[in-house]
Symmetry: C2
């Protein structure tokens, strides 16, 4: 099928040609609305008029950045990588991503389950909502998807073919390289308003120990092909409620370093913590976030290691190569390195949200300007600790000490 841009008038005839969707809606009349909150893509909700509970989401990439317009061209093939990541997640962790009804690389579209009873995690956290199952869910998501797309699980050929299937996501990787690791830490015209004449920003931009380690982490981001990354796993890429968690929007996906997604998540949880510390002052909630960070990291490691224990042949490991004691020692060091990188990436992700182009609502939306400045400085203080000391982290406990 040749690519064409969909809109609220031609979507219905498009989806009526897709059997699974036709079956889903049966003879219902349909109503299409655009949901205007995507930065990159067009997102539509298709609802049954007879039964508004019956609804699906259609997402289409256009050959430019939606939030800017046609003057910012961006290859629509980014959807290809979102589709491939979603299909891999559906295979490995079907309960943790929306159900995919249809995905079409030529049309750059995906049609998926409408999450009507779930909200974006960032909003939930700003409102102080506790999610008691989130640590279980997200640690499973991370362990399953990182482990089972790595050379610790796949054989050599499958791994290299898997890398190959994401290797062309060059534009979005470049965006991460620029915006997560570079522009937000220097004078740059893409930075936010608040970077100008700001003493805290100036101090950050002049912190060379911080920047040296950012270069190391950036280099690893560009060259280390550990496993499938979501590539943008902040709390805005998660929809959830008390019982269910769904990861969405993996358009930045590629095969990169293990620690990057974990770090993105932890960094965003820390920003929520700092926000509550200075704004809501809700101590219970702060405690819950700190505990949550620990639980996620601890459970991730347990689950990753228990998946690893089930495998005796992989690209890395030939059966009988090494005794189990030595293999355990190797694994222990391996996991420590993942933890270290996660802390480093968490720091980059936090710091880049302060003065870079894309802020986070938890901090940027603080109305009291004085409080906002204090929160920004506090986030940066933790972020710098993370980035400067990530290579010395020994255990999950160390991270709590760097935060509080």
């Amino acid at each position: 099928m040749d690519y064409k841009i969909l809109n609220i008038t031609n979507i219905i005839s498009y989806i009526k040609n897709i059997k699974i969707i036709k079956d889903y809606f049966a003879e219902d009349s349909l109503h299409v609305n655009e949901i205007g909150d995507g930065n990159l893509n067009f997102v539509y909700i298709i609802k049954s008029e007879q039964n508004p509970q019956k609804a699906l989401i259609l997402k289409q990439a256009v050959p430019y950045l939606r939030c800017v317009g046609e003057e910012y061209p961006l290859s629509k093939e980014r959807m290809t990588f979102e589709i491939r990541a979603l299909l891999k997640y559906s295979e490995l962790t079907p309960d943790l991503v929306p159900f995919i009804y249809d995905a079409n690389e030529e049309m750059s579209t995906v049609v998926m389950q409408y999450l009507s009873k779930h909200i974006i995690m960032r909003k939930g956290m700003i409102n102080g909502i506790v999610y008691p199952k989130f640590d279980e869910h997200i640690s499973t998501f991370l362990a399953q998807n990182l482990f089972k797309t790595s050379s610790l699980f796949l054989d050599s050929t499958c791994k290299r073919q898997f890398v190959d299937s994401f290797n062309k996501n060059v534009e979005l990787c470049k965006l991460s390289e620029d915006f997560v690791f570079s522009f937000a830490f220097m004078e740059h015209d893409t930075n936010g308003e608040n970077a100008r004449n700001n003493e805290t920003a100036k101090k950050l931009f002049a912190d060379m120990e911080f920047k040296k380690n950012v270069l190391k982490l950036k280099y690893k981001f560009m060259t280390q092909s550990d496993a499938l990354l979501h590539g943008d796993l902040h709390t805005g890429s998660i929809m959830l409620n008390q019982n269910e968690t769904f990861v969405i929007d993996p358009e930045f996906s590629f095969v990169g370093p293990f620690g990057f997604d974990i770090g993105a998540l932890i960094g965003n949880l820390v920003m929520s913590y700092v926000s509550h510390l200075h704004v809501s002052k809700n101590e219970q909630y702060q405690k819950w976030i700190l505990k949550l960070i620990e639980e996620i990291l601890t459970k991730f490691e347990q689950k990753f290691l228990s998946l690893w224990a089930e495998v005796d042949e992989s690209a890395l490991h030939v059966k009988g190569f090494i005794d189990s004691k030595s293999l355990d020692e190797f694994k222990k060091e391996f996991m420590k390195n993942i933890l270290r990188d996660s802390v480093g990436y968490a720091g980059c992700k936090m710091a880049r949200r302060m003065f870079g182009m894309a802020g986070v609502e938890d901090i940027r939306a603080i109305e009291d300007k004085n409080k906002k400045n204090i929160a920004e400085a506090h986030v940066l203080e933790i972020a710098k600790k993370f980035v400067k000391n990530y290579e010395q982290v020994e255990s999950v406990k160390d991270i709590r000490e760097m935060i509080i």
Copy 2:
């Protein structure tokens, strides 16, 4: 053009259709001979009968491993990666690879300069020949090709596209993973005769500290996309004389860790050193080899850093991001890590040649069985030091101490 297997009878009509080759030989009558020393591929020499100085080499990959036969299928597309590597080398270091007259990915052929006045370096070294310009040549080859195919030089998109163009060399990467990092260090039926009932082999196979670090190096080989690697840069992949050096046979090429090619070369030089120590007992030559290793590593670092000094924008580095003192510190640590990995890979490459399927003539051809055993044990002693201590190497000087 559809793929067909060439042979001495149809080669002439094949090359007569290629203008540059037709021009080269003009109206001369041609004579074709097969050179039977390739493991993987068929290699032919095409000579002018009127002027035997005029000659070209044609190399073609067939869909199996030449030295075993059709029962060992191996995708002929391996030639695609050899061609791509040769063309990149021709662009970056034209004096250090044979001149390429024609390269055809569909036909899996390459037609190149015949090196009539050069010999395989391994043979030369077994005969104790000193090559006074080799350190200059090979350090240039390594610095130019590693630096200019890395994220330190290319921009983000070019780098990812470059990785992509080698990413499908899966079969030959798998051969390296198996034979360089796994089978040669355990009981395996691909090992050489001499691995059976051999106390030294048993000790190696039981050395878990060695194997733990081999796993680390193997993991990095599989997942670290630093730069274009030759992939098999031993002294058998180099043809030279007193004045010229040519690197040949990059069919194992892919984008991998910086230290792998350097390590392969150093490891093979060390094996030559050990061979001379126990067999020829030529002290001058041993000294020359030790000096050569130092010179190669030192000059490589100087040349790599001076290329780096010319670049102020790359995938890694945005102009103005970091001050020059901090960037120098970053580079210093970066170079140290390349050196460390090189030592680690040198150790793997040496150790795998002792009992694995593919030996090196420097050691395996030692006629006196006692001397051969001593030489093998000595190579392994150094190899183990390299592998177990590579992460502690601080400078080039440390390596000499680990050898003598």
